[in-house]
Amino acid sequence: MSIFIDETTKVLVQGLTGTQGRFHGLRNRDYGTKVVAGVTPGKGGSDVDGVPVYDTVEEAVAATGADASFVAVPPRFAPDAIIESAVAGVRFIVCVTEGIPAQEEALFFNRLRREHPSTRLVGPNCPGVISPGKCNIGITPGAIALAGGPVGVVSRSGTLTYQALHDLSQQNVGQTTCVGIGGDPVPGTGFIDCLDAFEQDTDTRAVMLIGEIGGSEEERAAQFIADHMTKPVVCYIAGVTAPPGRKMGHAGAIISGSQGTAQAKMEALAAVGATVAQNPIEAAELMVEVVKNLA
C-alpha cells in the first residue's frame, strides 16, 4: 500500500502548458503516473504531447475523472488554482510553487480547512509526493526511489529528501510513499498528517522524518509519536549550525529567539524514543539497521 496516492490516482496538471508544468507533468507521466489532463485558462481544446488541456478544472474533472491535481503555476496564480481544484471536488492537491505570500497561504489553508475539509493539500513549495512504482506527483526524480517499502518518508526539504531516498535505495531499502511537505510557514499537510497515515498503512513498517529549523512542527510530531506511533521513527533535523534570525532559504526556516532550534527539536524527538541522526547519511544508515531488525 501507499498513502494519499496509488496506481489508480488520476492527475490533472494546472499549468501543463507552462515550462515547469510541461517538463514535470510529462516526467510524471513517463514515470507511469496517470496524467489525464492539463488545465490552462484560454488553452482548452489543445493538448500537450497528447494530454488534453481544458480551460477549467471543473471541465477537466468532468471529462477525465481526475481526482488529484498538480499545481505548477507561478506564485500570483497559485492560490486561485488551489481553490479552483478544491471547489471542483479534487481530493488531493500538490502545489510545488515557491514564493507564495504567507498571507495568501494562511488564507487558502483556512478556506480549505473550513470549506473543503475532504481535500488534502500538500505544499506549497514542496517537491511533491511519490509512491514508488505507482504514482509520482511533483518534481521528485523518480529514478532515485525504490518500490516495495517498508519505509515511509516525510520531509520538509526537497534535496535532502532526494539524498535520503537515494541512500535508502542504494542499500536496497524501498519506500512505500515519500511526502515532501514543503518548507513554507503554512504547509497544507504537516508531519502529523503523514505520521498518522503511515501508522495506519499496513505496508509501511518504519518512518523516516526529515525536519529543519523553524516553527514547532517537529516538537508536535514528537508528541504525536509518543501518543500514537507503534512503528519506529528515524529522524534528522537540518540547521544545527544555523544563525538565529536569518531565513535559511526556506521561508519557514528561521530561528526566532530560542524557539525552533534544531537542538530543541532533536531533544524532543529523542525523548519520545525516536532515533535521531546527526546527518542525512547517518539517518539512512540508521534506517537500514532499523529495517534489518524488523524481520
Partner: protein, 382 residues
C-alpha cells in the same frame, strides 16, 4: 525584510496608525535643524534593526539644541549589538501616561493569525511572556473572517488596558491587522503603544517585518530596498540573485536546495570545520548561477576551501559542472574546491570536469567524505 523604526512608522501611516511626527537625519547638524523644526523637547533615536536600543543608550530625550547635538554625536556611529548607527530619527517627545504592547504574527501551530496585547509595554515582551504570561492577552484571528472592532476589543479588555484607552486601542488593532494582512507583513509589533496624558493612543515604536515573497505585488517596497544591513559578500550575492548568508568560518559552501545547504553546514561543523556561508543555488540552477556562486565565494577572503555539494533533482549536475568550468574561465579561484556530485546527470557532470581535476579541484563520492576533505584543505591552506 525588516524595516527601520522610521520606515515602520511610515508604513503604519499608510493604514492610518498614528505615531508622533519626526525627521530622518544622518548628521548632527541635520538633527539640530530637525529638532528646531519639530519643537523641543525631542527624542533622539538610533535607527538600527535590533532590539534593546534604549538599554544601549541609543534613545535619548533632548530639551534643547545643546542636548540634541550632544546626543546625536554620541549615538551616530554607536555600535548596538554589532549594528553601527548610521541614521537618527528625531521625534517630537510624547507625554506618556501608559505604555502598552500590541502585535500580530502567524501562529504556525494553529495556522491562524495571532494578536497579542499587554498592558505591560515598553519592556522586552519575551521577558513578560516568561515571567508573567497572564499579562499577555491573546486572540486568534482566522484570515477568512478578518478582524472586527468588536473582536479586537476582547484582548484589549482582557489585557486590562485603561478604560480611556480601550476603544481607541481596539480601532488601532484593526488598522494594525489591515497593515499586517494587506501590507503583507510577517510581523507587526508596537512596543510601546502609548496612552498620552491627553488621552490619545498611538505607536511610539514600530517593528515591521515584510514578507519577501510578496514583493511582486508591492511596487512601493522598492524605495525600502537598499536599506537592508548586508555585508559586502551578501550585497554581491543579492546582485547575482543568490540565496546567501555570510557566516564566519573558512569553508565556502555551495549546495542546491535550502535543506541540503543547511545540512551541508551541519556536516562541515560535525567534522570539525566551520562554514563561511550558506548558499543555495536553488532548483534548476543554470551554469551561470553556479559560476556566479563561485565568484561570490571567491570574493570572500576568509574562505580557505570550497565545498560544492549537489544532489541533482531538477538541477542537472552537467549544468552545475558547466558552471564550474565557466567560473574557472572567469576568475582565478583562490581556494581549492571539493566537489560532491550526485543525482540527475551526475556521470555526465563528472566527465565534463575530469580534465580540470588537480590537487586544487577534487571529487569526493560522499557528502561526509567531501566535508572532511574540505575541512582538511581549509586547515592546510591557512
Amino acid at each position: 525584510m525588516d524595516l527601520y523604526e522610521y520606515q515602520g512608522k511610515q508604513y503604519f501611516a499608510r493604514f492610518g496608525i498614528p505615531s508622533s511626527p519626526g525627521v530622518l537625519c544622518d548628521t548632527v547638524d541635520e538633527a539640530q535643524s530637525a529638532a528646531e523644526e519639530l519643537g523641543y523637547p525631542v527624542v533622539v533615536k538610533a535607527q538600527v534593526k535590533v532590539g534593546g536600543r534604549g538599554k544601549a543608550g541609543g534613545i535619548q530625550l533632548a530639551a534643547d539644541s545643546e542636548d540634541v547635538r550632544r546626543h546625536a554625536s554620541a549615538i551616530l556611529g554607536m555600535d548596538i549589538k554589532g549594528h553601527v548607527v548610521r541614521h537618527l530619527w528625531i521625534e517630537k517627545a510624547s507625554d506618556i501616561a501608559r505604555e502598552y504592547y500590541a502585535s500580530f504574527t502567524l501562529d504556525r501551530a494553529a495556522k491562524l493569525h495571532l494578536c497579542m496585547v499587554s498592558a505591560k509595554g515598553g519592556v522586552d515582551i519575551e521577558e513578560v511572556a516568561a515571567t508573567d504570561p497572564r499579562a499577555i492577552a491573546r486572540l486568534h484571528v482566522d484570515p477568512v473572517d478578518g478582524l472586527t472592532v468588536a473582536e479586537a476589543a476582547k484582548p484589549v479588555a482582557e489585557a486590562g488596558l485603561d478604560e480611556v484607552a480601550r476603544a481607541q486601542a481596539a480601532h488601532l488593532l484593526v488598522k494594525l491587522y489591515d497593515c499586517y494582512v494587506q501590507g503583507d507583513c510577517d510581523l507587526v509589533e508596537i512596543n510601546p503603544m502609548i496612552l498620552t496624558t491627553d488621552g490619545r493612543v498611538r505607536a511610539l515604536d514600530a517593528k515591521v517585518t515584510l514578507d519577501d515573497s510578496a514583493a511582486f505585488r508591492h511596487a512601493e517596497w522598492g524605495e525600502l530596498a537598499g536599506s537592508e544591513e548586508l555585508d559586502a559578500r551578501e550585497l554581491l550575492a543579492k546582485e547575482k540573485g543568490l540565496t546567501y548568508i555570510g557566516l564566519s568560518g573558512s569553508v565556502g559552501i555551495i549546495a542546491n536546495g535550502a535543506g541540503l545547504a543547511m545540512s551541508t553546514l551541519d556536516v562541515v561543523n560535525q567534522v570539525g570545520g566551520r562554514a563561511a556561508n550558506f548558499l543555495d543555488i536553488g532548483g534548476g540552477a543554470s551554469a551561470d548561477t553556479v559560476a556566479s556562486a563561485l565568484e561570490v565565494i571567491n570574493s570572500d577572503d576568509t574562505v580557505r576551501s570550497i565545498f560544492v555539494n549537489i544532489f541533482g533533482g531538477i538541477t542537472r549536475v552537467d549544468e552545475v559542472a558547466n558552471g564550474v568550468v565557466e567560473a574557472l574561465r572567469r576568475v582565478e579561484l583562490r581556494s581549492p574546491i571539493v566537489l560532491r556530485l550526485d543525482g540527475t546527470n551526475a556521470e555526465e557532470g563528472r566527465q565534463m570536469l575530469a580534465a580540470h581535476l588537480s590537487d586544487r579541484i577534487v571529487f569526493e563520492d560522499t557528502m561526509l567524505g567531501a566535508a572532511r576533505r574540505a575541512v582538511a584543505l581549509a586547515g592546510a591552506s591557512r
